[in-house]
């Protein structure tokens, strides 16, 4: 489904930080018909649900994580006309202002790029096996999943029903 011929890994799960500018450049590199690159960067915040957050540790399910992210990318590629997709998700201990996740999508037109980028983030939030444990002044706690994340992902299912099925 990648039309570039040269396929680099779409998905990385890693402890290391990443270079946002370089990732965005790579999404446009080597082709002259990319008109739009939409991207998203998620960062650790120093507050969540009213408590201060000193740090967090991201646990994940090695093996399944990569597979889940690749399936989400494949779904996005099946649904929109995309040239390239890149997903990077970190795990381990992170502090406020640290980058957690990057999603970048290259397409001919901005509508597809925006939709696919947001779709991937929404699906990632409900289907990729990561769990956050926050360190707060009241002690460590596992972050609860948000209902708004389920509803954000669900609206894309409705979109499928409305579309070609």
């Amino acid at each position: 489904m990648d039309r570039s011929g040269v396929e680099s890994a779409a998905v990385s799960v890693q402890q290391a930080d990443f270079d946002v500018g370089a990732e965005i450049d790579r999404l446009g590199a080597g082709r002259r018909d990319v008109g739009a690159i939409a991207s998203f960067v998620g960062l650790v915040r120093d507050v969540n649900d009213g408590s201060g957050v000193h740090a967090m540790t991201l646990e994940h399910y090695p093996g399944m994580t990569e597979r889940a992210l690749e399936e989400i990318v494949d779904q996005a590629k099946a649904r929109w006309a995309l040239f390239g997709v890149r997903v990077i998700h970190r795990y381990g201990r992170l502090e406020p202002t640290d980058r957690i996740v990057f999603v970048g999508v290259a397409s001919s037109h901005r509508g597809d790029a925006f939709a696919a980028c947001e779709f991937i983030m929404d699906y990632l939030k409900t289907r990729a096996p990561f769990w956050k444990r926050e360190e707060t002044p009241e002690g460590a706690r596992w972050v609860d999943a948000r209902e708004t994340d389920d509803s954000a992902a669900a609206r894309w299912d409705e979109g499928v029903a409305d579309g070609q099925g």
Binding site: E59, Y61, M64, I100, A128, P129, W131, V143, A145
Partner: protein
């Protein structure tokens, strides 16, 4: 030939049951992910985190599945709370 399943636990569920992985011999009559979960929930202290009222998700061979998914010896089954990445 193996007669066990590999069971994995993550995040708060891992802490509640006190382990991250085990090889588990499938009892007679336990043929689905939901039945396996109910069986494990009966183990006692800590294991009620897998109980019927709890918000637990499951994966079979590294794919998210519902309680009705058929499980057989050699499979990898994981139980965990709703995910919170991103």
């Amino acid at each position: 030939m193996t007669t066990t399943v590999k069971v994995l636990y993550f995040a708060s569920l891992r802490e509640a049951v006190g382990r991250s992985a085990e090889e588990f011999a499938l009892p007679a009559g336990v043929g689905t992910v939901g039945a396996l979960r109910a069986h494990l929930a009966e183990r006692g202290e800590g294991w009620q985190a897998l109980g019927a009222g709890r918000n637990v998700r499951a994966a079979l061979n590294q794919r998210m599945v519902g309680a009705e998914a058929a499980v057989a010896a050699g499979d990898e089954v994981a139980f965990f709370p709703p995910v919170t990445g991103g």
